[in-house]
């Protein structure tokens, strides 16, 4: 059943609605609930496929559903509709306004109602796709404040990598932090690239979600095998490669590549002069879990991230 989570009237003949699909057995089920949320960033579309696939699969096998599945495919409908990362008209990153405020402006109000609706789930997935600049292997990012609670779930989610990162004040205003702080376990998935859909990654995450639904007693149908992810809890393990010069980045390897020290990752070239401005090589043996997808770079642009000391990936 499609439900409206929150709606507000817009100035010119339109109502903004944030909607979800609620899937339940006929008797209402056992009260356990998983929520799949995506589309906070309007240019990240990988979660669209996951929402579709999961909803389709459950509806076709509804007899195995024991609990509730809420699918929220578009928290920022304006952004998705206009290829805008943030909230258009406000130039605002929606993932910096949580937990919102029911007495606040339109966006704060929307944020507060979304949190109210998703809170109390047994587990929430918040699916992101990095951005239009970077491609990522399927991974879950966890704030170290919530590691004990979240890592056991994340390990069963069929991703390649779990990155436990340091706490940061700025991240306190994200959707996931707001829910985690309120006691609703929420996993942030980053996978693929902005403005595109990588179906193979969507299939992987879909299997992980169904597996976790089974573990949570929400699903009584088929289970899927999940892979064991690499867990990095030490920020020292992760190396960031930033552009030393401005130019056009030509990648030499794909994300997920296993690198030896000195392997060529890519080049920054200058098409005006016809010269190579820099060659980016791996500083150590490691696993390239992020790579630059968007070719235009300025000095400082992120080109890749490497997990050091992990020669073999999954």
């Amino acid at each position: 059943m499609i439900e409206t989570v929150v709606q507000v009237d817009l100035p010119v003949d339109e109502t903004l609605q944030i909607r979800k699909m609620r899937l339940q057995p006929e008797d209402g089920g056992n009260g356990r609930r998983i929520s799949i949320v995506t589309g906070i960033h309007g240019d990240e579309l990988e979660g669209q496929y996951v929402c579709y696939k999961l909803s389709d699969y459950i509806q076709k096998n509804i007899k195995y559903l024991a609990g509730t599945v809420d699918v929220y495919p578009a928290l920022n409908p304006f952004g998705i509709d206009s290829i805008t990362r943030g909230i258009p008209a406000f130039d605002l990153d929606m993932n910096r306004i949580f937990p919102g405020n029911t007495e606040g402006d339109m966006n704060e109000y929307l944020a507060a109602q979304i949190v109210r609706d998703a809170a109390g789930s047994d587990l929430v997935f918040d699916i992101h796709a990095s951005n239009i600049f970077l491609t990522e292997v399927p991974q879950i990012r966890i704030n170290e404040l919530h590691r004990d609670r979240l890592v056991p779930y994340a390990e069963e989610a069929n991703v390649d990598f779990i990155w436990i990162h340091g706490a940061s004040t700025v991240l306190e205003s994200t959707f996931a932090h707001s829910l985690n702080a309120a006691g609703t376990p929420t996993l942030v998935v980053e996978m693929g690239v902005g403005m595109r859909i990588t179906q193979a990654y969507g299939d992987r995450l879909f299997a992980g979600i169904v597996h976790l639904m089974k573990r949570l007693g929400i699903w009584e149908g088929e289970d899927f095998d999940v892979r064991t992810p690499i867990v990095s809890a030490d920020n020292e393990d992760v190396g960031f490669l930033n552009a030393s010069v401005s130019g056009i980045f030509l990648k030499n390897v794909e994300h997920g590549a296993v690198l030896k020290r000195g392997d060529l990752i890519g080049r920054i070239v200058n098409p005006l002069t016809g010269t190579v401005e820099d060659e980016i090589t791996s500083p150590e043996d490691g696993w390239l879990f992020t790579i630059r997808e968007y070719p235009v770079v300025s000095e400082g642009s992120l080109l890749g991230r490497i997990l050091y000391g992990k020669e073999s990936s999954v």
């Binding site: 100035p11 003949d13 960031f240 401005s246 300025s298 400082g300």
Partner: protein
């Protein structure tokens, strides 16, 4: 006056990205004034240009105190200004969410880091700031409550109001906040407008900055004394919101004194023109901020009012 490049990045097809600074006097790093950081901050850029003009005159007359140096950085983001984009040209990040910056990080972290390195040791740090919502302000000084704030010093600008603001999570990456963390006495100067140039409030802001520099013994200046500032915390301010979306017809503007129950604005239906909401003042007071766009979304903070207190 000496013009210097504080930070520079070589680009592929554009001219080099430069953050330029203008310094006056020599000696102790007394005061740094920063202007526009976003591509739409014309007023903030204009204020700095007027300040530089004045400081040049004062320097020529020997009015800058011996052993004191003033640095003005009129624009931190010429790239966005020149293409009329509010945030950073390629990735839409906001330089004023990147402080204290990081010299090995992303481009806007490097810009913030490069600038901060050049300006973090000043005794006083002033920024001509803009608000994220479109509207008009009564000129005021804003001070973030970090534990290092100095309200008495903020009064030396002689603005009618000093606003005390409790930082929210995203404020911790602004210039003002990090200046304070690094023990610079930091103040944000808000004038009336952002995109449009308001010469009157720009003049008032420049006078107030010069007034501040005089009272802190950085320059000799024969300017106006200013107001006796009222200190208000943002929690004390009353926010007035519209209940319906539609055309916004303001009937009271920033700086006006209003009475409880007075109609401040009407909202009219965008198709049929009928009034759908009448916005009344919930208190006696002065309008600090007034919405200034043709339309308003539902529940927008269209006015912020400083309520009158009995003891005033």
């Amino acid at each position: 006056m000496e013009k210097k490049v504080l930070f520079e990045i070589k680009a592929l097809y554009r001219d080099d990205f430069r953050v330029s600074g203008f310094s006056f006097g020599h000696g102790e790093k007394a005061a740094c004034i920063v202007g526009s950081m976003r591509g739409n901050e014309n007023q903030q850029l204009y204020c700095c240009s007027q300040l530089i003009r004045k400081l040049k005159e004062l320097e020529a007359k020997g009015r800058i105190h011996e052993g004191k140096e003033i640095l003005v950085v009129p624009c931190v983001n010429p790239y966005s200004m020149n293409i009329k984009k509010r945030f950073w040209s390629i990735d839409n990040t906001d330089i004023n969410r990147m402080f204290p910056g990081y010299d090995e990080g992303e481009t806007t972290q490097r810009i913030a880091g490069g600038l901060f390195e050049a300006i973090k040791d000043y005794v006083y740090g002033l920024q001509f700031a803009s608000f994220y919502m479109p509207g008009r302000f009564v000129p005021h000084i804003r001070v973030m409550k970090t534990g290092f704030e100095d309200v008495e010093l903020a009064k030396k600008f002689g603005f009618p109001y000093v606003l005390l603001h409790t930082p929210r999570p995203f404020d911790t990456t602004t210039l003002n906040y990090n200046w304070q963390v690094w023990e610079t006495k930091a103040f944000s100067v808000y004038t009336t407008s952002t995109e449009e140039i308001d010469r009157a409030s720009a003049r008032q802001a420049v006078e107030s900055v010069l007034n501040f520099l005089r009272k802190t013994d950085v320059i000799d200046y024969d300017g106006f004394e200013g107001y006796v500032s009222k200190v208000v915390s943002t929690e004390e301010m009353v926010t007035v919101r519209n209940r319906t979306a539609g055309f916004f017809e303001g009937k009271a503007g920033a700086g006006e004194h209003v009475r409880k129950g007075q109609v401040l604005a009407c909202i009219a239906d965008c198709y049929e023109g009928n009034v759908t909401d009448e916005i009344c003042s919930p208190a006696d007071g002065t309008i600090l901020f007034a919405h200034a766009e043709p339309r308003a979304y539902q529940n927008t903070a269209v006015y912020k009012i400083i309520p009158e207190k009995d003891e005033w």
